[in-house]
């Protein structure tokens, strides 16, 4: 009987709306952000399908050259007599036209979607990991002496140093000097963009460190790494999530700029950036080669930015009473 009462009380103590539900309802009110979110979900499915259909089961072949079929505008049906039927594009139509080598742009865009998104997500994962780790160290162990200075000073001065570099120039230098590879690009973008996250996390940690639940956790002799990563990081994650969403957008833009300058992903692999860079020479004869990848980048980056803004609003405590 006693136990039952306890359970009932616990049930009564539960908030009417959970934290996640509350944030979600704020997020849904922002129509642009909600629309972008759905768009991005569809994009993920699209890019997964693209990865499967261009790499593993080759249904759309992005690398097949058909020289007699070059510069066909979008939605041209496949009618060639010269090319054997097994080399015909999927569904016998060039949805988005062909490029200067007669490759199917739709297949290349499909392949590029997964590459561009991978670059964005891997780069941001690296930068979030570094930022949370270093920011957490600086915030939690801030006062700890390390020789003649504190750990906080060392890490934050390092952040200052990194902020002084002209980022794009630094990325360009490293990417140009290293052998060209997609992994180098992801790593370099990740390694040069963690400073904002580190600052946010440090600021949050400085405030969280003094809160009761952290003191309570410490009094129970819970190992420090557990306090930091299991107890404190989830409470400091909101600004990180926002900056990570916008970081994906920035990383996709940086990758496309690098590809545009010729340092990005190397042919024959396609990304949106290098489809655009190859197509720009033919902008008067074949404008779709420039406009299709250009607008794809624009829409995807815009969706990430709007989504990030929606998250920022949802996590903003000042806006709480609006619901």
């Amino acid at each position: 009987m006693n136990k039952f009462e306890g359970e009932q009380n616990l049930e009564a103590l539960k908030p009417a709306v959970s934290l996640f539900e509350e944030k979600w309802s704020v997020f849904r009110q922002n129509q642009l952000a909600y629309f972008s979110f759905t768009f991005l979900i569809f994009l993920f499915i699209f890019s997964m399908a693209g990865k499967v259909l261009t790499r593993w089961i080759v249904f759309f072949d992005p690398q097949l050259v058909r020289l007699s079929e070059k510069f066909l505008p979008p939605l041209t049906p496949f009618t060639s007599k010269i090319i054997s039927p097994e080399d015909a594009p999927a569904f016998n139509i060039y949805f988005l036209g062909t490029d200067e080598l007669g490759r199917d742009i739709f297949a290349r865009m499909l392949e590029g979607t997964s590459i561009s998104l991978t670059v964005g997500f891997v780069a941001v994962s690296i930068s979030v990991f570094l930022g949370v780790f270093l920011g957490g160290l600086a915030g939690y162990y801030g006062k700890l002496k390390f020789g003649f200075t504190t750990i906080d000073t060392i890490i934050m001065r390092f952040v200052d140093i990194m902020l002084c570099f002209p980022t794009f120039f630094l990325i360009l230098t490293v990417v140009a000097l290293l052998p060209p590879s997609i992994y180098n690009i992801m790593i370099v973008i990740g390694l040069t963009s963690w400073m904002g996250t580190a600052r946010f996390v440090r600021a949050e940690f400085l405030a969280l460190r003094e809160l009761d639940y952290v003191v309570a956790a410490r009094s129970q002799a819970i190992p420090e790494w557990r306090i930091i990563f299991i107890h404190m990081v989830p409470n400091a994650i909101a600004p990180v999530l926002v900056s990570a969403t916008i970081g994906v957008a920035t990383a996709i833009l940086t990758e496309s700029s690098l590809s545009f300058l010729g340092f990005g992903v190397q042919p024959p692999d396609a990304t949106w950036g290098n489809i655009l860079a190859d197509g720009k020479q033919f902008i008067f004869d074949a404008p779709w080669l420039t406009f299709i990848p250009g607008f794809s980048i624009l829409f995807v980056v815009l969706a990430f930015n709007l989504c990030g803004e929606g998250l920022r609003e949802a996590f903003n405590p000042k806006l709480k009473e609006r619901i």
Binding site: C164, P166, F169, L172, I283, I297, L298
Partner: protein, 319 residues
């Protein structure tokens, strides 16, 4: 105050030292030496490569190379690997080309961002505000090079004016008006392109800053005194909203080199960004390193000046 100035100068010199060490290490540790740029050239024999490496001190240990770089930089004897020209003079020439673009771009940014941001804040939730929000996101999201191409086609087709390069070749003997008009046309697009991202970001900041200020008590007091609305907004409000933008002054300087690489490449503008791009392609280490160093110096000077301006502008800050 004097103590603060000396302390922050000292801190910045130490930072600069570490920046120079890190950038030197990154550039020299990455694979690919200047002697390897042209591996297919049959006239490059092993002993030639050795001679080149010795001439550039590339066969010395890293810290000796660093000392050589620093010594040459501060005695202004640093020579480019590529054409043996003094690096500082090369950079200075290009800097003079980049400067008008940078100034023009900054002016456009500030003169567009502030009115747009203030209007958006004053009419919060209006169609103008929503359109401004959406446009600024669109402008941040559009790849700069893509927008540049659209604008180039537009300008050339509609106005029929030259936009690539710094001036039209063969106009040297034309009249002054024709020449200056030509210059202006060449400036317009690159300056606008480099300003666009800044306008989008800054106008958002101005908006949120203004929104915070106009809800404060002193604005209500000013209105209650019966001051005209313009005085309230532009004298009392704007002055207080301006404070955070002093700090942004220092942080826009890296774009002088970094942000301009793409636009200067597209518009064939012989500026600093393009110099850096060419130096990277040629593995011209002294130029890359010195550009990095100079931009770090500019950032540090910029943040220093903004710190001091902040202290002067905001009487609440004490040292």
């Amino acid at each position: 105050m004097t103590k603060f100035i000396f302390k922050s100068i000292g801190q910045r010199i130490i930072l600069l030292f570490f920046i120079s060490i890190i950038s030197h290490a990154i550039v020299h540790l990455a694979p690919g030496e200047p002697s390897l740029v042209d591996p297919s050239n049959p006239r490059m024999k092993a002993e030639d490569i050795e001679r080149i490496r010795a001439a550039f001190h590339l066969d010395e240990p890293l810290y000796i190379q660093y000392i050589f770089w620093m010594r040459d930089l501060f005695t202004a004897k640093l020579k480019s690997f590529k054409d043996n020209q003094p690096v500082l003079k090369k950079i200075w020439d290009r800097f003079l080309n980049s400067l008008p673009l940078f100034i023009l771009g900054t002016l456009i940014t500030w003169f567009l961002a502030f009115p747009v941001g203030i209007q958006a804040a004053l009419h919060r939730g209006s169609a103008f505000d929503k359109l401004g929000t959406f446009l600024s996101y669109a402008l941040i999201s559009i790849p700069g090079f893509f927008l540049s191409y659209i604008c180039i086609i537009f300008m050339v087709k509609v106005f029929n004016v030259p936009v690539i390069g710094m001036r039209t070749f063969g106009l040297e003997n034309a009249s002054l008006i024709l020449r200056s008009m030509d210059r202006v046309w060449h400036w317009t697009l690159p300056a606008f392109m480099s300003a666009i991202a800044g306008v989008a970001i800054l106008s958002r900041y101005v908006r949120s800053q203004m929104l915070e200020i106009i809800n404060q008590d002193f604005i209500r007091t000013a209105r209650a005194k019966g001051l005209p609305e313009n005085t309230v907004i532009y004298k009392h409000g704007l002055r207080n909203a301006l404070l955070p933008f002093i700090t942004m002054f220092g942080l826009i300087i890296p774009s002088l080199i970094g942000g301009s690489v793409i636009f200067e490449t597209i518009f064939a503008w012989p500026g600093m960004g393009r110099l850096g791009f060419e130096a990277i392609l040629a593995r011209d280490f002294p130029v890359i390193l010195t550009l990095n160093f100079i931009s770090a110096v500019l950032v540090l000077i910029g943040t220093f000046v903004s710190d001091i301006l902040y202290a002067i502008a905001d009487p609440r800050i004490k040292f």
